[in-house]
Amino acid sequence: MGILAGKKVIIIGDRDGIPGEAIKACAESAGAEVVFSSTECFV
């Protein structure tokens, strides 16, 4: 398991970068517990 295993994670994704949902899928596959995830827009 990676460095995120067993860690609680807060995710702020960027709609013009990597969306929160995609980061969440990656983090969970690495064993993290995602406590909050959203995607924000700055444009």
Partner: protein
């Protein structure tokens, strides 16, 4: 018959005081960090009207410079002066704040906007000299009230202040004592959207060379909501703006989809015209006060001027095919579906390569792609990167994957099929549609044959779904057929006469 794009209008309003008083980055900071450095520093980073006029991307937006001209100017642009600083352009204009505050009052039909009478007297002649204004709009401007009464309304009646050069010159009153949907803040936001939409409508009608009475339907695609506590988003911005613009034969409705709204609305307009439901439809949108100074903290931190000081607006006139103007091809539509997913590759696949695949076209068959045309001068210092470039890189990567271009041509693809962003970060305003005016000209001049307009929207911001959204459509050179083409009445009469003669001849032959 496919519908055509008869003309477009693009307008900007320089609103420096609204940056300070109405942009959400600033209003939020005033609540959470009122004594912070940002609010102290901010006023010294505000641009003058002349600076806004000589800003390269603004001159591109109103059509005095082209995207190609802009691409040839080395970035950043905020420290360069454009050699054209005209407030009027072939697509529209850049309006100064003082004129716009008067236009807001003209667009208010519930006696909510109150202006200081001295301010009105000083600025009405300038608005009257504006070529898109007419008597019916100017007649709506009242004499104004005492400055002391304006101050009382702001201090005691929850009115939203209207400022110019830091001075209180008017206010927007609340439209209800309790209903937050009709608060002074919401009414201010909605009247700004409506007034900038009116500017765009008037510019588009003028540029298309049509009469106001020809317009049968208006679709508003901004990102605001108007309604009261019993119907928060009841609408209808479209008809409200059409009323002030004098489009007396039009009805209308609002289409919403965050930044994808304009592309959805364009497809709907094209479908309405192509089906014959309406002959002339205008898609319009005003701008957004909340987004003013949205990335201001980064701009101030890096010593830049506040570049998000412009309220934007646009309108596109869609009519029946005239055999000349560029056609909207509804046979090539991209759509991000519920099942598409949010990965950037999946999004661009659904909007670009999937529709082209269905139409049997290659990515290179589209001469120009217009995705999100945000000005990189604004987004790069804020850490959001160059948004159009990011879109082009993904389109190019998918083109390589399909074998439409060689991997070695990735960089060339962006230059040849892409555009440099010039639109203000006003959400729906930069989304695909800023290029429609230039695309129409490029198609008419034969410089290009097809352009794809791509709109994308962040639905998750409404907290109703985590889904992304987007739609795309293609504008193409007119095939030359007109609405009247095909078989004329005279030809039909001739054909019937010929058939009857032949029938008679057959009967005579049989009789003999």
């Amino acid at each position: 018959m496919k519908s055509v794009i008869k003309g477009a209008g693009y307008i900007l309003v320089h609103t420096p005081d609204m940056v300070l008083h109405n942009g959400t980055t600033q209003t939020t900071e005033r609540i959470v960090n009122p004594d912070g450095e940002y609010l102290k520093e901010l006023p010294s980073h505000i641009r003058s009207f002349d600076q806004a006029l000589s800003y390269w991307p603004n001159q591109v937006y109103i059509g005095n410079k082209t995207p190609d001209d802009l691409a040839a100017v080395e970035q950043p642009w905020y420290d360069k002066t454009c050699d054209v600083n005209d407030r009027y352009g072939k697509f529209g204009q850049i309006m100064p704040q003082e004129e716009f505050l008067l236009l807001m009052q003209a667009c208010d039909v519930f006696d909510l906007v109150k202006l200081d009478k001295d301010f009105v007297a000083a600025n009405k002649p300038a608005l009257a000299a504006n070529p898109i204004m007419d008597e019916s709009i100017l007649a709506r401007i009242g004499e104004g009230i005492d400055g002391a009464e304006v101050a009382r309304l702001v201090n005691e009646e929850h009115s939203e202040g209207l400022y110019h050069n830091g001075t209180l010159v008017g206010c927007v009153n609340r439209a209800h004592d309790i209903d937050v949907n009709l608060s002074a803040h919401v009414m201010h936001e909605n009247i700004v959207s409506k007034a900038s939409s009116v500017m765009a409508l008037l510019s588009a009608v003028q540029n298309a060379g049509i009469s106001k009475d020809e317009v049968e339907y208006v679709i508003d695609c901004c990102e605001e909501a108007c309604g009261d506590m019993n119907q928060r988003g009841g609408g209808n911005f479209a008809k409200a703006a059409a009323e002030i613009a004098g489009l007396n034969n039009a009805t209308g409705s609002d289409a919403r989809g965050f930044c994808a709204g304009p592309s959805h609305a364009m497809i709907e307009a094209a479908a309405l015209v192509e089906s014959g439901a309406y002959k002339t439809v205008i898609v319009t949108a005003g701008g957004c006060t909340a987004k003013l100074g949205m990335n201001g903290k980064d701009h101030v931190k890096k010593g830049l001027p506040i570049l998000e000081d412009m309220v934007g607006g646009f309108a596109v006139v869609v009519t029946q095919n005239d055999g000349v103007n560029p056609e909207i091809n509804l046979e090539i539509l991209g759509r991000h579906t519920v099942g598409t997913g949010s990965a950037p590759q999946a999004v661009i696949g659904s909007l670009v390569t999937d529709p082209l695949e269905r139409a049997g076209l290659k990515v290179t068959d589209i001469d120009k792609f217009s995705p999100e045309m945000q000005n990189p001068d604004i987004t790069k210092p804020a850490g959001a990167g160059d948004v159009p470039q990011a879109n082009y890189k993904m389109i190019a990567a998918l083109a390589v994957k399909r074998g439409d271009i060689a991997k070695a041509d990735l960089a060339k693809f962006t230059t040849e099929h892409g555009l440099t962003g010039w639109a203000p970060t006003q959400g729906h305003i930069p989304s695909g549609v800023p290029y429609i005016g230039f695309a129409r000209e490029d198609l008419l001049a034969g410089k290009i044959s097809r352009a794809m307009i791509i709109g994308k929207g962040s639905l998750f911001l409404g907290r109703m779904t985590n889904l992304f959204d987007g739609v795309s459509f293609v504008i193409q050179k007119n095939s030359g057929e007109t609405q009247a083409a095909g078989v004329s009445e005279e030809e039909v009469k001739g054909m019937i006469a010929k058939a009857m003669k032949e029938f008679a001849a057959t009967l005579l032959a049989q009789a003999e």
